[in-house]
Amino acid sequence: MLGFLARRVVLGLVSIVGASVVIFIVSRLSGDPIVLLLPIEAPPALIAATRQAMGLDEPLWMQYLIFAGKALTGDFGNSYRWQMPALRLVLERLPATVLLALAALSFSILLAVPLGVLSAVRRGTWVDSLGKGFAMLGQAMPNFWVGLLLILVLAIQFNLLPAYGYGTAAHLVMPAIALGWYPVAAQTRVVRSAMLDVLDSDYIRTGRAVGAPEWVLIWKYAFRNAAIPLVTMLGVYFAAMLSGAFVVEVIFAWPGVGRTVVEAVFSRDFPVVQAGVFFTSILFVLSNLLVDLSYSLIDPRIRNE
């Protein structure tokens, strides 16, 4: 199993390096960053000097190596807009995004698991149809629209929760729901189909034959098996949360990496865009690695390989 993990770590590193290359190349596509730094009337001598100082006169691959080298030491350059290290800007805001993503993921799982299990156990009844319908609906609603609706109803109409900001648990509720809404559909389907498979299995029949009560059969013996496919997909769902966070943070003025990157995109603040997207990728790769690690905890059959 150590070999399996080692391989995953290496693959993860390759992915991160690759991501950095992609991010670097794309951001250089826009042409000359000099244009953004210096006023238009700047004398050519100043332009040339700045270009040389920033290493922008080197060939592209050389620029990447400089970039990578600096990145390894934590130097992503300074934000064009805020005159502070881009890295610090991003790292300060990363925890808020992680908090939001985790809250959203928890919300979606808390909704999907009972829906999926109930749908499977009561297959074919109205409960099943309700669950499936609810899931279908969720998959058709964009997360930012859900957020706006939540604000409209809960904040403006009924004044129950704050529409913007950060700080208390109340601030977290609506963004988490808005962000976590979309994957409920997919997760419910996974849980439902896994439960259906498991409930048909021989070992559940053995459990019945031994006289275990129904709720033990469903929630202990069946669900433990059915949870495996869900857990293996957790990494993917977390990535979806990270991706969706970009928009949800904007709506709720949530002080996370997402909102920062979006603003940086508008102001063409490349160091921040690079650092922000890069760290989001690292988060993603890390979460996948963690999920891989958890495979062995969840499924004892893998532990010995």
Binding site: V250, V262, V265
Partner: protein, 296 residues
Amino acid sequence: MNNAAPALPPRGFILRTLRAGRARGFPWVPALLLALVVLAALGGGAVTPHDPNGLNLGVAFRPPFWQAKGSWVYPLGTDNLGRDILSRIIAGARISLIVAFYAIVFSGGVGALIGMIAGYFGRAVDAFIMRVVDIQMSIPALALALVFAAVLPPGLGTVIVVIVVTYWTWYARIIRSEILSLKERDYVALAKVAGCGTATIFLRHLLPNILNTLLVLASLQVGQVIIFEASLSFLGLGIQTPDVSWGLMLADARAYITNAWWAITMPGFAIMLTCLSSNLVGDWLRDTLDPRRRQL
């Protein structure tokens, strides 16, 4: 002995399976809705009751027809600039469908081609391509889109390019595994022995057999692509005025959310209904074209 399925002309095959699957609960209402959306898109300016961009501050903030100050002239109400929301929704349908169409055709085409190359040639080519796919998939979709949007000028073309760049990986992965199993079939070996060039094998033997999968994938992507475009436009990085996009409408309406709840709700409903319909039709397509995967 592998099943030697000869390459069939795509049209007949699809028609036959569609006819066979007709009995299996075709989703009429969603399909009708989609047809409406397509008609709206094709009709363009001719179908809208008002000019989608026609400013008329005198009728700003009119509520939908069922409310007190509403009227049938502006059935779904007007926005802050007096523009008819229904007309804008119809105009937005056009953009959404154009984006969805081109984005899916290109991402599907590019993705499928790359997937076929990876699956067919195998080994080094395959490993390289799969690494690229892995790397790209380790960057969350919207994040990657943002990086692109930062460098390309905003607009319809950019949105399509961004979606293609983001979504090709899904097609590539799935088509690749299909090809991996298909290339072992006898008829491929026979074609090679007969001296067929690679392009011929791709076009005449492999392509018709992955068409099913492609179709299913594409139909399931429609909803996602529409939402993706709406998200980009909402952030201001996608469609720009004077073009109309549902996402853009939502972004505009956000500013005066307390004054006009319908401006926030209606475009969102349009998105939701279109996605729901295409998802339902896509599910039906998947069940029809691959009965093995039918979910009970």
